[in-house]
Symmetry: C2
């Protein structure tokens, strides 16, 4: 179980001691002359409202699925009460647990899930599917004010790779398998799914599918929806099951109706996924660019030349500074050398440089060829090679960033991320506008203090994902207002400049106010039609994804 007030296991925290340059720099940037201490409330002080029990449902469940693990313990309710958004963690730290789920049920098979949904439908109990609980857009939070019983369906017992077909390169995987669990099972066959989102250590296949996730290697292996061959989703009205064929023209693709459905239509129980041979060779390199726009142009050149690295991650000036501060200071001779290089770079126009990490995976010969081709193209845009160590440093820290948020939330600082995608013609503009908008908020609210940066995390033929991270001093007493002010300003900016509402974090409650703008009102009508057909009583994950009809869309309180 993850910390109820933060990210990751209870015995893991951000390794700040290994990064002596980071916090002093961040304190100055954030304007923390006086460092506050804002730890979460004590566990013992948490108050648990009595669970709502729908006795007819509970009785029927005990009779129909006697082996299902059911729990209403404080411990289980607490650890299934919300995801890991900033508002989730802020409230939890204050001891505000919101509307707790009433019962946590852990099914062990598709049949269990089918039975539970049929009973929940019959007895009007709400069901929230729950995988790793890593959602950061409010996707697993019970709706405040919900009077019906809320059942949290924890899929983590369904964590097996059921079968593998090495000739077709497909694997049938249960929805509750976490990243490490499924990769470990596939590894025995020399295979990999190739899906590595930031939440990899905790999140599950079902969660990835439900939120249309993208991973760090998606440039090579595709987004999660590109990997789906077939899928099984239990709904209150029966099971949607698609057939495992490589391609079809039999009507609208129901795999894509299931993917992204965020638990509002049903519970994904299993999927047949494309898998890949574990790559024989990997090569990750660091490059330095004089500016973000030079880096963007270099990526664009590369893709247009038909060169597709497995991963391209371009950090802007702000994030690059953060990355440099994350490094341990070099000692002795290497310190002197690095100082010299730095001075040389500053003189050569790299005064506020941008780091790119570029990765190649596959057969050794292909890796070598692609790397040479890519670097040749990128050098024309001023790429300065940093060698393989930067790639290693990035790889070492890649799953650490969520822990950093806890560290700074302990010290009175707000920290959040916003991600979008835009076509190439808009990438530089959306970046500049968003950074400007956040800096304006820093000026309005924090006297200009704050940290903001962005990286390109995924690239496509038509455009790229822009991933923004920002941190600012909390405004005491109105911490959530402050967060929503940022959220609204940034997201409105995305919509106005033609960028996506969300690239891989999904909708949940946090992006729901913009769904009508994103998919058009008739698009919403289509989604509501699906919901009405599959969940006519509205028991599935209420209050997520699809805005209520007729209500004005407002960001949550």
């Amino acid at each position: 179980m993850m910390k109820w007030w933060g990210w990751g296991a209870y015995d893991v925290s951000f390794p700040m001691d290994q990064k002596p340059n980071l916090w002093p720099w961040a304190r100055t940037k954030l304007g923390l002359e006086v460092e506050r201490s804002t730890p979460p409330v004590e566990r013992a002080s948490l108050r648990f409202a009595s669970p709502v029990m729908n006795d007819a449902f509970v009785g029927a469940l005990a009779a129909a699925v006697p082996h299902a693990e059911c729990s209403s313990s404080d411990e289980d309710r607490l650890h299934h009460a919300y995801g890991k958004s900033y508002p989730n963690l802020w409230r939890a730290r204050c001891g505000d647990l919101g509307r707790l789920p009433d019962l946590v049920v852990r099914p062990s098979s598709r049949e269990d899930v089918e039975s539970i949904l049929a009973l929940a439908h019959a007895h009007e109990a709400c069901v929230i599917p729950f995988g790793g609980g890593t959602n950061i857009v409010g996707g697993v939070d019970p709706l405040l004010g919900e009077r019906r019983m809320i059942v949290c369906l924890d899929l983590r017992r369904m964590n097996r790779v059921v079968s593998v077909d090495r000739y077709a390169m497909t694997a049938v995987i249960q929805a509750g398998a976490s990243g490490p669990e499924l990769e470990q099972q596939l590894q025995k066959h020399g295979l990999s799914l190739g899906h590595f989102p930031d939440s990899f250590e905790y999140s599950t296949l079902g969660g990835w599918l439900a939120t249309r996730s993208a991973g760090m290697q998606s440039d090579a292996y595709g987004r999660i929806e590109d990997m789906v061959v077939s899928v099984t989703m239990a709904t209150p009205m029966g099971v949607i099951e698609t057939r495992p064929v490589p391609a079809s023209s039999a009507g609208p693709d129901l795999n894509r109706v299931v993917v992204g459905s965020e638990g509002v239509l049903g519970v994904i129980v299993e999927a047949t996924m494309r898998v890949h041979a574990a790559p024989a060779a990997k090569d990750y390199r660091g490059l330095l660019f004089r500016s973000f726009s030079d880096g963007v142009a270099a990526i664009h050149d590369c893709l247009r030349a038909g060169i597709r690295p497995s991963m391209i991650r371009l950090q802007d000036e702000g994030e690059t500074e953060l990355a440099f501060r994350m490094k341990a200071p070099p000692k002795g001779l290497s310190g002197l050398l690095q100082g010299g290089v730095k001075a040389y770079l500053a003189r050569s126009g790299y005064a506020r440089p941008c780091i790119m990490v570029i990765g190649f995976e596959g057969q050794p010969a292909d890796v070598r060829r692609l790397r040479v081709q890519a670097l040749r193209v990128m050098k024309r845009r001023g790429a300065f090679p940093l060698g393989a160590s930067v790639g290693g440093a990035w790889s070492k820290d890649k799953y650490n960033m969520p822990y950093l948020r806890d560290y700074i939330m302990d010290r009175g600082v707000m920290c959040d991320v916003s991600e979008t995608s835009a076509t190439w013609d808009k990438v530089v503009d959306v970046h500049a506008r968003t950074i400007a908008a956040v800096e304006e908020l820093f000026r309005e609210e924090q006297g200009g203090h704050g940290v903001v940066g962005c990286h390109i995390s995924h690239t496509y033929d038509t455009g790229a994902c822009l991933y923004f991270t920002y941190a600012a001093r909390q405004i005491e007493g109105r911490e959530l207002d402050q967060y929503y002010r940022y959220k609204r300003r940034i997201t409105d900016g995305f919509m106005q400049s033609g960028a996506a509402l969300t690239h891989h974090h999904a909708v949940g409650t946090e992006h729901r106010p913009w769904m009508e703008q994103e998919v058009s009102s008739t698009g919403l009508r289509a989604l509501r039609g699906l919901k009405a057909a599959l969940d006519p009583k509205g028991i599935m994950n209420p209050g997520k994804l699809i805005p209520d009809e007729g209500k004005t869309a407002q960001p949550p309180p």
Copy 2:
């Protein structure tokens, strides 16, 4: 306009005179000791039922869209009365025009389409979207017995490439643009959509999207759904409009709800599509394999080695024989030489060989490298190189095959195609079973006479498309029974062996009886939910794609 009784323009027919070896061979195979002459009935003998006129709708239309081109002429109704399936053409040739559309309307803008649908919804007139009219699964045929007025919405006036963004590599294209029209407009920018289905000369972007089409170059550029960036579809309840972003996780992908909707949800009016630079180099080669399974193994080896040609087309023994008969006989020395090569090949195990055409497009260096790599891998499976001329021969005839059907239908022969896809573990088995099933029908009905063959037309990491073509003497007096006997036997076989209902021909009326098996009953419920939300009165393309609720699924009469 295409021939009302066959394929293509009135002044084009199959160039049988250039293929002197073909018909004598086919006659023997088909058992046509006596060649019948079965031309279509005379145009003058056709009888046109009076159009049903919904006066309220017609009046409102004239007031709201005065510039819309409307016609109830016999000529227009005839040329919009059905697609190009075997039953369509058989009936037409007999003078049975079915339920003709009552009015052909040619809108010129999105606004026109919106107005027409709103009026049709208000006055309960049916609407059938019509592009090139090339559908071969009954997708544009008015429903027999429909009493409401039927409006055929011919999109062909909306045939422009509206805008091009060379940096993002996207183009906004109107739905009514045919293959040649849109490629010509893109060519001015040095671009190509890269979508070349067999029907390319006539079919339209809207039709491709509505049917989830795949083209000859889909291995390189993806299926039509992979190319969609955003789409605009008018429905009776308003316009679904997605936003042109490279990737999104904002709920189920509505692009994929629109793609494959076959006109039953609305009318696709426009889409933003990914486009590509016209390739600098092309290289098409022929190879010969000792057996179909050797060829399949060679493709599989190739893909597993990470080598992805732009096109791979592997013909089985039956289709290869047909292909050889299509060639003009070589004369003089080259004839002698070819005879020698043939004898040598027969001695070396290529007695019943299989032709593969393999194509590479892109930068010259990449084309060369990929070709060398692919041929090296394929030679290990016994590939015998035939050089570039086979590729040329294939390319020359690639749009000719639909004309051949008319030629043989004039001579008392049934001819149809069935396509499916299967994962690699099943490809050889599905091929063998299907060929065996058709040959069994030949024995049951035609004393063993008939022509059947198959080719792999599209490949994927997980599997391939199998495309079967078969021809047999018509059974006089029960020609449609005969066709549906084949259709049912083959399609049941696909479903039983885990292959797709259809890979790129879509559902229409012909595959509708199998839709429940294909997408599950709850999957159908989802589709019905979409239909109810967007077309509550059921005016959009009635009787297609989604089986009627509660009715037993039966193949059409």
